[in-house]
Assembly symmetry: C2
Homo-oligomer: 145 residues x 2
DNA sequence: TTGTAATTTTGTAACGATAACAAATTTGTA
DNA sequence: TACAAATTTGTTATCGTTACAAAATTACAA
């Protein structure tokens, strides 16, 4: 429940990415940066609607596309059904638990990314590492598999 | 243009994965194994229709889902728009060229996969490595970037 | 401050890939 | 041959996303 990130920082964060801040944009970015649940458009919408009753889904789509263009977020392609968004832009991998459905951040050593990115003759701009399996919590002793 | 894979082998290949062979299933698997273009359902449909005029898209969806369940193919989630399918089940990565749109297989050393799969407390069942960037051909000296 | 253009937001409608479903066809086996 | 199971097919429905234009807001010049 990490809330209350200073508004000014969010605005500055957007400006640093060449994005003019607006209430909607700040709200969306604030939510993305304050959660690690990799929410979908619908989850973002449901979360913000109580505080911004006039918010439109289209605005969220537009805003996320803008964020992506400017490199302010990462877009996750994990199941070809729902697009999820990640406010954390530093390099990390994702683990999809097929039991609980959650998506966890996984830190991978820089050396491995360096090795991965050594692709002769190619210009590598992004490297996505996605795991599928069963997470630690679901593997716990009290859980029936 | 690698065609003419012996039908008997395709049937055997399916049986080895617990899949009862049928004309449609063999045609789909034969196409998947004979190409490295990672085709979508529509591409598969267009390719097979001339030889199988009664073929239905639904059959392709059903068949690919069956193949996936049985572990006979890999499903690629690369852009959240179109699902692509890969007949090659041995471990390898994928490179998406943002210029030509092609998807190339990339071989990654086993050691790297071993390192990647060392996730404490997790049961890793699949590891996907997806690159985005510009491919060797598009980086060639005669191509304007 | 006022007017105007540019930007942003919004709601509706359209799109398209996929899934649900039931009927029709084919296959396996008694 | 007969019948049940499996497979294929066409139609319809679903739902995430995009297109589009109008409305609202903001930035800036006079």
């Amino acid at each position: 429940m990490q809330e209350e990130q200073p508004i000014v920082d969010i605005a500055l964060h957007l400006k640093n990415h060449g994005i003019r801040p607006s209430m909607q944009r700040m709200a969306i970015m604030e939510y993305l940066m304050g959660t690690s649940t990799h929410p979908s458009v619908d989850v973002i919408y449901s979360h913000l609607l109580p505080k911004m009753p006039t918010l439109s889904r289209t605005t969220i789509y537009n805003t996320l596309e803008l964020f992506r263009e400017k490199g302010a977020i990462r877009v996750l392609n994990l199941d070809n059904k729902i697009t999820r968004y990640d406010g954390k832009t530093t390099e990390h991998a994702h683990f999809v638990c097929r039991r609980c459905g959650r998506i966890y951040d996984v830190e991978i050593p820089d050396e491995i990314y360096e090795q991965l990115n050594k692709l002769p003759d190619h210009l590598v701009e992004q490297t996505d590492v996605n795991y599928t399996g069963v997470c630690a919590e679901c593997l716990g002793p009290n859980v029936i598999r």
